[in-house]
Amino acid sequence: MAEGVTLDTAITVKGVVKNYGNNTVLRDVDLSVRSGERMVLIGHNGAGKTTLMKLMLGLTHPAAGRVRVLGNNPVTAAAAHRREIGYLPESVAFNSAMKGREMLTFYARLKGVVPAECDSILVQVGLEHAADRRVSTYSKGMRQRLGLAQAMLGRPRLLFLDEPTSGLDPSLRRQFYDLIDTLSLSGTTSLTSSHSLNEVEARADRIAIMKNGSIVACGTLAELSSQTDLPMVVRLRVTTGNTSRVAEQLAPMGEIHRINDHGIELSCLGASKMLLFRQVAGLGDAIEDFDVAPPRLDDIYNHFMKGVSLQ
């Protein structure tokens, strides 16, 4: 076990720099993923998500800095280290002449997993009926599930999923995340990169936002939200005739967007949230209902992405 790494840390990345030619893809990246955590990487195309994953997988080495995965340097780690890791690449075209089961068995052998385990994994990803068909007859969703199946071989402690749901329909996406959640419950750490912000919002323990090769923010949704100073939106249903009075009282708390006969919508900063609640409570019967919408990951993402030029 390398120094500075506790058992609770699955991945540590410190001061990592990576260049491809003159192009700096990662600049001074720090990231730490705890054991059992579901970490999600988001960021624009070319932000460095895939490169960061490749570094953690030991497929390429950093120009500077340190990467430790499960306590090992992934580039020099022994074969045993790789048995504890599963990876689903962003786009993988499996040998289409092979049957699903043949392919999975091949990967199982390489990983030193008994071929019998393939059957149960095929059931888990819902491919048991298609297992003896050629991969060329598979739909996009089935191929993606086959990809996940190989990543799950040998019950890995750590899963790397590079945009696992791109190109899948909504119900398949759901199944996909359910599967990952099940694995997570049994203690598997996962690092997922995604562009589907709505999906990962509810499924991530922590989210790291990448921009132009750096991690600009990392934390739980609440932590990220508090870093942004993005307002939350508060909607109040007010008894008829009282709206102007209520609006007057709440005006110092935030910015009022809309007002009509029976409702008010205003935005207020996270810091003045409790103050607003007390005010609202003090208004008594005038308030029939109220609803608070914290900033969505979408909004947080856009906040951090300001200034990224489209390439």
Binding site: G58, L59, A79, V92, F94, N95, A97, M98, F106, L110
Partner: protein
């Protein structure tokens, strides 16, 4: 070691699946059979058994076919997996990069082995069984089969080198064709042209022999056409080089070098490559 075996078997199964093995066996088997049967007709005057007579014609055939089959098998081996994205995935498994190269090499060699043993061997067995030419000269024939495999190994290794150097499959295919043309066709044409242009006979016999050693395809010819006396008698043209007196060991070492050096270079380049 286990990983190499798994990869090799996978490569061989792939060859069975996409009919590569069947195609290569059919190609080598039928041509060998035709040459063996036709070749046994005019033996009356030359006094050589059918098998070693056919070594001459089969060598001339193999020198074209085997490099072609080997390059077709190998040009895609690495660059194809880079393009499909399967290499990226494969390397996250407990497999070292050199093991990937060796696994593929053994797998492809198994395909060639099947093609040569079943194709050429089968043709010889049929000839012996159904004609009255005995098994006389079988040593030269087996020698031809073994060196043919070695020739295949050379071009598989060269194909890998192409495959690891280029960035796209189509480039690799083009480079493989060029490689085949240069080693199998153009080099010999060049040598021939050189001899024709050399009116003052400045090219000595020994220089010419050395020039033949530079090309593994010619080394293969020398190995088959000069090693056995009976073959040398019928071979004619290559008998010229025979008199230069290269030992079998030297010729074999040269061919093995043509396998080892490109393979080692492939592994070294692959090892340093950023994925």
């Amino acid at each position: 070691m286990k990983a190499i075996g798994i990869l090799a078997l996978n490569e061989f199964m792939d060859g069975l699946r996409n009919r590569w093995v069947a195609a290569a066996i059919t190609l080598l088997g039928t041509t060998a059979l035709v040459l063996l049967l036709v070749g046994s007709a005019p033996t009356g005057t030359i006094r050589a058994g059918a098998l070693d007579v056919s070594v001459v014609s089969l060598t001339s055939l193999s020198v074209y076919l085997l490099p072609l089959i080997a390059l077709l098998l190998s040009f895609d081996a690495l660059v194809g997996e880079f393009e499909r994205g399967t290499m990226l995935l494969l390397l996250t498994y407990p497999v070292a990069r050199w093991q990937v190269v060796m696994g593929k090499f053994f797998g492809h060699m198994m395909i060639l082995l099947a093609a040569v043993v079943v194709g050429y061997g089968g043709a010889a067995v049929i000839t012996v069984l159904f004609t009255d030419n005995g098994i006389e000269g079988w040593q030269a024939y087996v020698n031809m089969m073994a060196t043919t495999l070695l020739l295949g190994a050379v071009f598989i290794a060269l194909g890998y080198l192409v495959s690891v150097l280029v960035r796209e499959r189509s480039t690799a295919a083009g480079a493989a064709v060029v490689l085949w043309l240069v080693f199998v066709v153009l080099y010999d044409l060049g040598l021939l042209g050189l001899l024709l242009a050399d009116h003052e006979q400045r090219i000595s016999q020994s220089l010419f022999s050395v020039l033949m050693l530079v090309n593994p395809a010619d080394t293969y010819r020398l190995l088959n056409l000069t090693v056995f006396d009976t073959v040398g008698q019928v071979a004619g043209i290559a008998g010229v080089a025979a008199r230069s007196g290269f030992g079998v060991t030297l010729l074999l070492c040269l061919m093995v070098m043509w396998v080892v050096v490109p393979l080692a270079a492939t592994m070294a380049i692959f090892h340093r490559r950023e994925l």
